[in-house]
Subunit: 203 residues, 4 copies
DNA sequence: AATGAATGAGTTTTCATTCAT
DNA sequence: TATGAATGAAAACTCATTCAT
């Protein structure tokens, strides 16, 4: 049993090694320009081993999505259980998303670049993305129940708008069109929460 | 000269025929999955002809971006010259973007799906996208100058947030995750302007 | 119209050029050991051109079967319309099959070697083989109707036996286990017709 | 020594287990489409183990031929020592071949499908096939010596014809083109012996 | 201008075989 | 003996692009 556990752990480690390498490789050249051999080389393993741990090149990308994104969604979900005000919850959610850029820029790079790819197949499979929206939506709904947020906004649409604002900022950073240093990240957090909560209008 | 003009017009028509077909083809299968012969077939011409009018498959996509997007940006720019309040200008800009979906769903589909692709090459070449951001940014700046918008928000970042909110809604429609009927489009317009101008907070 | 005809003829010629090369290539190394590049090289054309004229490597083999075999079946069918005795018809049919070896050894080599391959798919698609059996079967049936052949033999089974005897001789020649010179071919013809018509028993 | 003997017996059992599994696997998918892991899975062992008992995938097929075929040839050889008439010997030989289908359809399936494959290498190694022909040839020769069979037929060619007739019937059964129920097997036996001994001609 | 035959580099994937444990 | 992770060569197939007509 110890042997089995060790073996499984070793396998898991290998899998992770390849997955991390894939993130770096995809981030460098983009998914389509990236050959399976690039992943293997980046991971320091033989070509065929990638196929031991993943069905196909596509499956690798899907795993990147599922597992990397999953961590972020988990963090956002955790926020719900905290006894914060809706505004605080929204702020913390935005912070998590935006700071992921600081902590895992390659992961964000890949997620941002490839998330819209082959809309039909990949997106439907990766429910994690949907979970992120649902968590945001629940925060909005709670804010409306507690009369903190305006009643006239469809929560689902509001969640999409919040998510869109965040993703666009990440995109700006990924593409180097927006400055993304540590201070900028804090500014972005303040600005996006400011706009989303209080609006652009000065009143 | 009349002859030349006629020829040029005929050429322009052919070019347009191929470009429109490309939009439909890209919208159906995505840029990468779409072969040059698919474009030609959709246009009803031999596929060698695509190379008479465009340098490469990439150049076709770039033209789609430049020309289709250009129309939208032009419309947004036109708004600036109108004597509306900043809020009205923002509302109209959002309306233009969102209604483009109703009028040219295939174009939007392609723009949304492929805009993040090959960040290095394509994006830099297509400055039209940048122009859209600048137009939004100028609207925000004007709002701040006129003391209608809050002073503490970086205009550039605000423009990105506005754009991100809009793009995400379009994505939701494209992927069928958000309802996109005529009434939904109007609702989305009201909601996105509401959030961006007045915030989520009920005060 | 002349242009179209010429073009089609040119295409047909190219197709034939590749098909003939495939026969030579398959005959040399066997279907499985033969790469598509071997076919292209043998034909003196570029790699990809094979895929212009054939769906896949498998489709090439199928075409070899269908077209090469078709010629032989056509010849056997022609015999039926002649006013020969059943024995004569049988003799001529055997002669056609056996002499194909002399005239197109490579074709026979391929047919013999690969005919049993992937029984499910290929065989069922290539009806030409079935036609050969039917022609032989009709000859047997006519022989029985005319009271020349024995009544107690199921014609279908008899046709298979005749065909099996012929194929085995071809196999012996292909594999170099039976001598296959011109004189041997004549002997084989006489022997196989002798056994099939009059039996081994000396009476 | 007892230990060694036991070990060897256990080894032999394992070897047999893998070989039987290989027959089933080859019969199902054909030799080429069958991976080593398919054999191992069918045998219920790890696929590295196949390489403990066999040099290579090819060696497994060769062993199938040698050992399975060997049993059949042995049975045919045994017939020679019986004090039967040549016709009886021929009938019994045919019966053995045809009834093997009933008893070991998977074995026959593999032998029939793959026997013509890679003529150069495999065939030369598997002399068992040659032995079957020789046994048939000796039966014919004896029949000629005893003035029961016609003198004008080359015995070697006659043996090939007999074998071809039998193989074709097996092929028909394997491919499902000829009915292969118990009664059909008996009919086939009667028919093939009838044709080969007495001919198609009714006299 | 228009056609589509021809090219061939590039990429994924498969799988027999080896080898460390 | 038994396992299955690791290797990497091999090959089919795709498709953007060129070019002769």
């Amino acid at each position: 049993m110890a042997t089995v556990a060790t073996r499984t752990a070793a396998q898991e480690e290998r899998r992770r090694q390849i997955l991390d390498a894939a993130v770096r490789a995809f981030a460098k050249k983009g998914y389509h320009a990236c050959r399976v051999s690039d992943i293997a080389e980046e991971a320091g393993v033989a070509y065929g081993l990638v196929y031991h741990y993943f069905e196909s090149k596509d499956a690798v990308l899907e795993a990147v999505f599922r597992e990397m994104w999953g961590a972020m969604v988990g963090a956002i979900n955790a926020i719900e259980s905290l006894d914060d005000s809706p505004r605080q919850q929204l702020r913390k959610s935005c912070a998590i998303v935006l700071r992921t850029w600081r902590d895992y820029p390659d992961v964000v790079r890949v997620l941002v670049r490839e998330v819209a790819r082959s809309g039909e197949q990949l997106q439907r499979e990766v429910e994690e993305i949907a979970h992120a929206f649902e968590a945001l939506q629940r925060i909005v709904e709670r804010g409306q129940r507690e009369k903190v947020f305006r009643q006239d906004l469809p929560p689902r649409l509001a969640a999409w708008i919040v998510y869109g604002a965040l993703e666009e900022i990440l995109t700006g950073w990924v593409l180097g069109r927006l400055p993304g240093e540590d201070q900028d990240i804090k500014d972005a957090e303040r600005t996006v929460v400011g706009i989303l909560c209080d609006g652009l209008i000065d009143d």
